[in-house]
């Protein structure tokens, strides 16, 4: 382990070091990891030279976990313990399984929260844990290839993912021991990958059809700023659905009747997927299906037949395209470039339909499977600080409106969809009973008017409201969505200034307790020690805080701090540096908090000066 050198206050900090960063595309069918090396971003292969890691995890009775190609090879043999397309379950509840049940033939059990658990021979696994196993495999691959520990990663999510799905993804990253710098929307990542080569400003459409999700984003690129104007999509529409349609056709053609059973279903889907892929550059393919009794049936599928089968799905992607254009306030003619993302955009009929819709040939120069990971790697490289002068900035939007439940099960929108994030909106509430000290808020996400038609995100209980006459309390609730698209809620009673305490009950997420247990399990499994890991985490955090502070002090410490203030900041920093070299995680945490308290005023002045500086050149000439 490399120990960070902490320079004496006032002395220069260590020279800039290159930090290892990676972009991760956690896909429904395949996942990838990419990194910027010697100035160019590329995906990292495994030891056999394969870039795509199938998003398949198999749990064995002895506790071993297989991830990727090995697991996929066994999917048909051991369907109940081999988890595929787990991304479809992220942030979903037990009630969602009815719609997904036909796709995913697992045995589900209810967990402590409403997130369903998958029953395997190795015990119950949540979708978050399964995703964490995929991420951990990519982490190992990256650290082996790059030769060191990752400082941070950017994980991509479909732009259309709601809060629960994003939170589940972030939790999976945490469980895999990754420092998640940002959740980046997949289409934005793709635009970044393309935007680098083409410095042309203009409006870009990103059409992203993956294994299980469809996204369309409209972005404006202007001098390195990627501004998402609108996004729309369908979180349950993708190449898997094409495979299902083809599989159903195969059953019909080959005379397979009734319920084919788990193993047979897998074989049918694999045959369907293979046929679809072959038809990308052929007009006709022979398809073979092995039956349970060992016999084999054969049929033939033409591209024209395939096109007819998938036409309803292709058309289904165009409605979100129209909606995104409308929300962005642009016409199809104003689109300067169309970027294709996701393996399913290799299907010729898809390309054709997109070309027709936007009246221009889509860009396909970058491998549609890799483009998202490549864009994420570029962003990760910037976020860890390897390119301090880079001007690139990504401004994303919230894909679905956020609202709260009001009387009669109606929703009231607080943040409309396609609002640029981060965003903060405040709303005032009052009590309706004398002496009322608590209040419940139900936050939902979606466009419909009835709460039941939207997606429940969380129930917040405001407590410790000072008792007053009915209607006298004014409780200001602030809904904040950060750059990752994650919601947080704070509340304050306005007349007394009392901070209301908030208890969050996520509707589909994991409870803190569940995350803690999983973290413990995963560590025990790795023969590691919980305390050791916690200490390591606090040390990394301390290093980061100290490093950031030293860099800031060097830049403007003299400008914003009196000599007395400087002494107290330096003292707190020294105490943290000492604690950091000890072995008490809690002491480090306390020292970090103490340093933050000591430097609060400094940080405040700095951040204000920062924004003033941005506008400094304009103030004089333009106020006439």
């Amino acid at each position: 382990m490399v120990l960070l050198q902490i320079s004496e206050p006032g002395q220069s900090t260590a020279p800039h070091q290159h930090r290892l960063a990676a972009g991760i595309d956690l896909g429904t069918t395949n996942s990838l990891v990419a990194s910027v090396r010697s100035g160019s971003a590329d995906t990292l292969p495994d030891e056999q030279g394969r870039h795509l890691l199938p998003s398949v995890v198999r749990y064995l009775a002895d506790g071993a976990v297989e991830v990727g190609e090995v697991a996929r090879a066994d999917a048909a043999l051991d369907p109940l313990n081999t988890i595929v397309s787990v991304k479809r379950l992220m942030g979903r509840g037990v009630s969602d399984l009815q719609t997904l049940g036909s796709v995913l033939p697992y045995e589900f059990v209810a967990g402590e929260s409403s997130m369903p658990l998958i029953h395997t021979v190795a015990g119950n696994r949540s979708p978050v844990q399964v995703s964490a196993d995929i991420l951990a495999e990519l982490k190992r691959r990256a650290e082996r290839t790059l030769g060191g520990e990752l400082s941070g990663v950017v994980i991509t999510v479909p732009a259309y993912f709601d809060d629960a799905q994003r939170q589940a993804t972030k939790d999976a990253g945490k469980l895999a021991g990754l420092k998640v710098l940002r959740l980046l929307n997949e289409p934005t990542a793709a635009a970044v990958a393309y935007g680098l080569d083409r410095s042309s400003d203009g409006i870009i459409a990103v059409y992203d059809l993956g294994g299980g999700t469809f996204d369309i984003s409209i972005l404006r690129l202007n001098q390195g700023v990627f501004e998402v104007l609108a996004t729309a999509g369908d979180t349950a529409l993708g190449g898997d659905d094409m495979d299902r349609l083809i599989a159903a056709w195969l059953m019909q053609e080959t005379g397979i009747q009734g319920d084919p059973g788990h193993a047979m279903q897998r074989r049918l889907l694999q045959a369907a997927c293979a046929a679809k892929e072959q038809l990308t550059d052929r007009d006709e393919v022979d398809v073979f299906v092995d039956l349970d009794d060992g016999s084999r049936r054969q049929t033939r599928l033409s591209r024209a037949q395939l096109n007819a089968l998938i036409e309803p799905l292709v058309r289904k992607t165009l409605a979100p395209c129209r909606r995104a254009l409308r929300d962005a306030g642009v016409s199809a003619q104003q689109i300067g470039a169309v970027v294709m993302v996701g393996g399913s955009t290799r299907v010729p009929r898809v390309r054709e339909a997109v070309a027709e819709f936007f009246a221009r040939e889509p860009l396909v120069d970058i491998d549609p499977d890799k483009v998202v990971a490549i864009g994420a790697a570029v962003q990760a490289d910037i976020l860890v600080g390897n390119k301090p002068e880079d001007e690139m900035l990504l401004l994303d939007v919230i894909p679905l409106s956020l609202g709260i439940e009001t009387m009669g099960g109606l929703t009231e929108k607080i943040v409309p969809r396609n609002t640029t994030i981060p965003v903060a909106r405040a709303q005032e509430f009052t009590t309706f009973k004398d002496g009322q000290t608590a209040m419940a808020l139900h936050v939902v996400q979606g466009e419909r008017e009835l709460v039941d038609d939207c997606r429940s995100l969380a129930r917040f209980e405001l407590r410790d409201i000072p008792p007053m006459a009915a209607g006298a309390a004014r409780i200001r609730v602030t809904f904040q969505v950060d750059a990752d698209g994650l919601l947080s809620v704070t509340a304050q009673e306005q007349t007394s200034g009392a901070q209301a305490r908030i208890e969050v009950k996520p509707s589909y997420g994991l409870t803190d307790n569940e995350i803690e247990t999983m973290l413990r399990d995963s560590i025990e499994h790795a023969q590691d020690d919980v305390e050791a890991r916690r200490l390591r985490e606090q040390q990394v955090e301390a290093d980061r805080v100290l490093e950031a502070l030293q860099a800031a002090l060097k830049e403007d410490g003299d400008r914003f701090l009196s000599s007395d203030e400087r002494v107290s900041v330096d003292n707190a920093a020294r105490r943290l540096a000492e604690a950091r070299n000890g072995d008490d995680a809690r002491a480090i945490k306390r020292a970090i908090e103490a340093l933050e308290a000591a430097s609060a005023a400094y940080v405040d002045r700095r951040m204000n000066a920062n924004i003033q500086k941005a506008m400094a050149g304009h103030a004089l000439d333009e106020f006439k």
Partner: protein, 182 residues
Amino acid sequence: MSSVLTQNHFELFSLPQQYAVDSERLDARYRELQRSVHPDRFARAGDQERRISMQQAAQINEAYQVLKDPLRRGRYLLQLRGHSVDDQQRTHQDPAFLMQQIDLRESLDEVRHQADPLGALRALADRISDQYRALETGLGEALDSADADPAEALALVLKMQYFTRLHDEVQTLEADLEDELL
């Protein structure tokens, strides 16, 4: 030094406090501001910087949305000048305007029964945006001219509110029609 959170939106963007806004300049300022405050610029900074950066970025986003939108900018400017626009104030004294609204609403209701519903809806949308732009021009005069007229500006803002509601309904119907017909 004034804090971002206490500056008004015009000050924040270093723009003159008036209704007329140079939209290119506004967009450019927005990008400059976000470039310096966005949380991605503070990915490795301490929690306090990240929290402040998020608040500042959210504030800039909010200010940008207000300044960009002709109606919200008008309301905001009136508010800065001490004339608050009451949401509940719905009655309108102008009979000609009300007749026009009734007429537009009838046209909207009839769209579905036209031979070419989408064509009819788009023609209606054009009519609405023409009239909205005329109100916008009027609002600029009522707010920016030497003899600024707050009462007239308030009346125009209320009229614009009618149009934005109508516009939202047009968009919803357009989405429904497209999903049904295309």
